[in-house]
Symmetry: C3
Subunit: 361 residues, 3 copies
């Protein structure tokens, strides 16, 4: 379920020409509080498209209001847009120069004081959609974080979308080429990606800045604390796009949301707002978009001041009795996806659905 | 817990004399949307008793606004009421003539495009209360639906009550006659009825038009999607009527509602409104009574357009790890009921409670 | 996490000098409904400190409005306050004289008609904090109640706080003396206390009059029905105070609240209001403080009119499949606490945290 309009972190600069300044009243304050610029990098551009459902570029790791973003005139904003683009290039550059970050292409990894911060920031897919390559990068980052001296992991995204799930254009492309080989390869990539979350021993905090779709929503119950911006929403329309559930959602969603709502999400593609997801237990707290990144950072830093042993042992107590069950579910789910993708019938059904969607656009 | 005032589908025609037209503004539109009259049958009568707690005959399978129901004058409505009664007789007649439907007395089964629709419409009990015979009919219909080419099952009810649970007048009558034999027979009927839901492999959607009591509420978590009309409510006062839980509610209710609310329902007979049931996870969505049947049909038809394999395999993934546990719980619950009914003490307690209720009326 | 300001039942008389009469309009009615004075004892004093967050002495077992509490003038109230103090002394005295109650120091146990009422009323700790000795008294009372003819157990508290969890000043004192011996002793006391709740066969109703912290909140899911006053709140900041979860909360909290909120409570010390706890399933219903004790008593008496066999067998059905799992979790949690307390690192971390708190005050 990739969104139609691409909102890729690096291409977002243009968006800032749109006329809006609603959320920028306390710009200077926010600059002081923004916790991502301590490495001396310039911030990511912050683009705010306002409307009822329009996405807001408000990821953790992006500043909502760096000094240059005083968007009260269209002219000024245009310039800012150009500046942002430059800043963005610089960020990318500086990240690549940084020893601990330079090994990743589609994610950004930051070693902070007491915790590791992974940001989805896909260069090779739209809307932070997941490909086997991107999933492998996340796994690698999780593996590093499990071994270093960080006490917990913060997962968030650059751009206006948290994660749009599996990259279906990638999926179609590969499965069209070699159904048998690719169905196995992609299903195994999903399995290993999900397994990395199940097995991660330190607490994982997720900060959901925008839409979380498919696998991007399914993995949330495998994380420990889920904070969402008011702009976030959640959807797992597996059956609608002719797929079976993944990310252990066939087990975790009924546990958390109740059987009825879980099925409505998985079978009918029911969309949950941030507030609904919070009142039903998928999310633990919802924050106002403009202060989301500060609220999250504040809490994560406080958590990171706890004893590492206590954090890890507490998670161990909470997860140990679930772990083997989740691993079984993950295996079964990926086995099922592989079967669907390697059968001509399952593939036809998927293709014809996605084809229809393309024609609709 | 049968309600005192009978609201049997066939006897409801009289109710339409009552003065109200509130919900009928968009009658003609609704006629076009009503999805139950495509088999050329006449619709069931639609009787609206309006008041704070008055039941509304708004079952799926009943038209809220067939052409004759323009209830803007009392006179017209009286005539309509009579007409409805005739329509209703015709429906019953036409259903009996229909090959696939003629084998049932207390339920109506409709083969729709892509799904099977079972409607509780009891002729031998009040308020869709369940007797071993009616439960056997439902089991038989589930068995048929599992074997045919339908992709999912829709369960709803004719009349203003979804299901009032076990028929207690039947229960008392039988247990008074032959405690030992009947306690076994009835407990086994419940066990097999519940087991049929546990084992049904296609998704089950339930549309709750009105009160769902006792076993009629307990089985909901064994279904997959539960939609409710604003007029629905839920109650399982097992301990109050001197019974132990049934329908796997001793397992599913704490899972879904939390231990505290589950126990309040099972021990204290706490009644949940549709909205409460939705916010606590028993129901996935609540709809306005006047458009309830259309909203449900729209969604069920969309679900029925999904791949049959995906629907069944998704349900299998979600239920497989629960199935054996639920079957155990079901066995234990029914074993316990049998013990209660076959002990003179348990029976006395039940009888004296129900006796009191009869005197109260 | 003991609260700073002591609100011990016996010292509360002074509070009644404060100016407020808001909740006492229906004083005389409440007197008739108050269900605690049938043993001929005088009631506990009822002190209402009104303000946004101020505690209200409104425990079950305290009369909100005995005749003397017509608080419409400050003068009258001052006198009442003095009277209350006397009443309170009398209560304590009469309880000690009573055969079934005289064996306890920090709890009050009342044999009521059909149920046993245990009230936390700690004389040796502040805010009903738990020490091994107090936990042993509760265990002994549970053991008695399991053997007598009562059908269920009501657990509540005297004073404005339900239970502030483990007594940390006690903990520090003992662990400083003999880390190895005391860590084992205290961890085992917690284990046995929690085990007594897991194994108790009759339904347990808990009435939460005020804050429930740490272990005082963790054990709630081991009880069957949880009713809370609007003034209650819930917090389990284990990680914050450098501890791992106890009371089976590492298992029950994710089950009931969802993984995300459970972790926010256990890792970040997120505080839940009574309403939040109710909407998320920890509490089954919230009542207005002034009528809380009557509402609870009304319901408990109705429950106690049910068949004893039905109540016990229903609980057995609901808990049997969980019991062994909970016992395992309890063992693991207490094992972990023992390890933390017996390691110098774990202890240092705990001490330095609690030291900081003391300096803060």
């Amino acid at each position: 379920m990739p969104l139609k309009k691409p909102h890729n972190g690096l291409q977002n600069g243009d968006g800032s020409h749109e006329k809006d300044s609603r959320h920028f009243g306390n710009g200077s304050q926010q600059q002081n509080m923004d916790l991502n610029d301590h490495e001396g990098e310039q911030n990511l551009p912050s683009v705010l498209e306002v409307g009822n459902d329009s996405p807001v570029v408000n990821g953790i790791g992006s500043s909502l209001a760096n000094g240059s973003l005083n968007l009260h005139s269209t002219v000024k904003r245009k310039i800012d847009g150009e500046k942002d683009y430059v800043f963005d290039k610089r960020l990318r550059y500086s990240v690549r120069q940084n020893e601990s970050n330079c090994r990743f292409r589609d994610i950004v990894v930051r070693k902070e004081d007491g915790f590791t911060h992974i940001l989805l920031s896909s260069q090779t897919s739209d809307n932070n959609a997941l490909t086997p390559e991107i999933m492998k990068e996340v796994r690698r980052a999780l593996c590093n974080a499990s071994a270093d001296d960080s006490k917990l992991l913060l997962l968030s995204a650059v751009g206006s979308v948290f994660c749009s799930g599996l990259d279906y254009s990638y999926l179609i492309g590969r499965l069209s080429n070699d159904r048998r080989k690719e169905s196995t390869r992609i299903a195994e990539a999903i399995r290993d990606f999900v397994k990395a979350f199940i097995q991660f021993k330190k607490p994982i905090v997720v900060a959901i800045n925008g839409p979380a779709l498919g696998l991007g929503a399914s993995i949330l119950p495998l994380c420990d604390i889920v904070w969402a911006s008011e702009k976030a929403w959640f959807q797992t329309p597996y059956a609608t796009i002719r797929l079976t559930p993944a990310g252990c959602s066939s087990y975790t969603f009924p546990q958390i949301l109740g059987v009825a709502l879980a099925n409505e999400m998985l079978f009918c593609g029911r969309k949950l707002t941030a507030q609904e997801a919070c009142s039903r237990g998928l999310v633990s707290q919802v924050f106002w978009p403009t202060t989301f990144s500060q609220e999250v950072m504040l809490r994560v830093k406080e958590m990171a001041s706890c004893s590492a042993v206590v954090l890890e042992e507490s998670k161990c107590l909470m997860r140990s009795f679930l772990k083997s069950g989740l691993e079984d579910v993950n295996e079964k789910e990926c086995q099922m996806l592989k079967q669907l993708w390697s059968s001509s019938k399952g593939l036809d059904s998927l293709f014809s659905y996605l084809q229809d969607k393309i024609y609709e656009v």
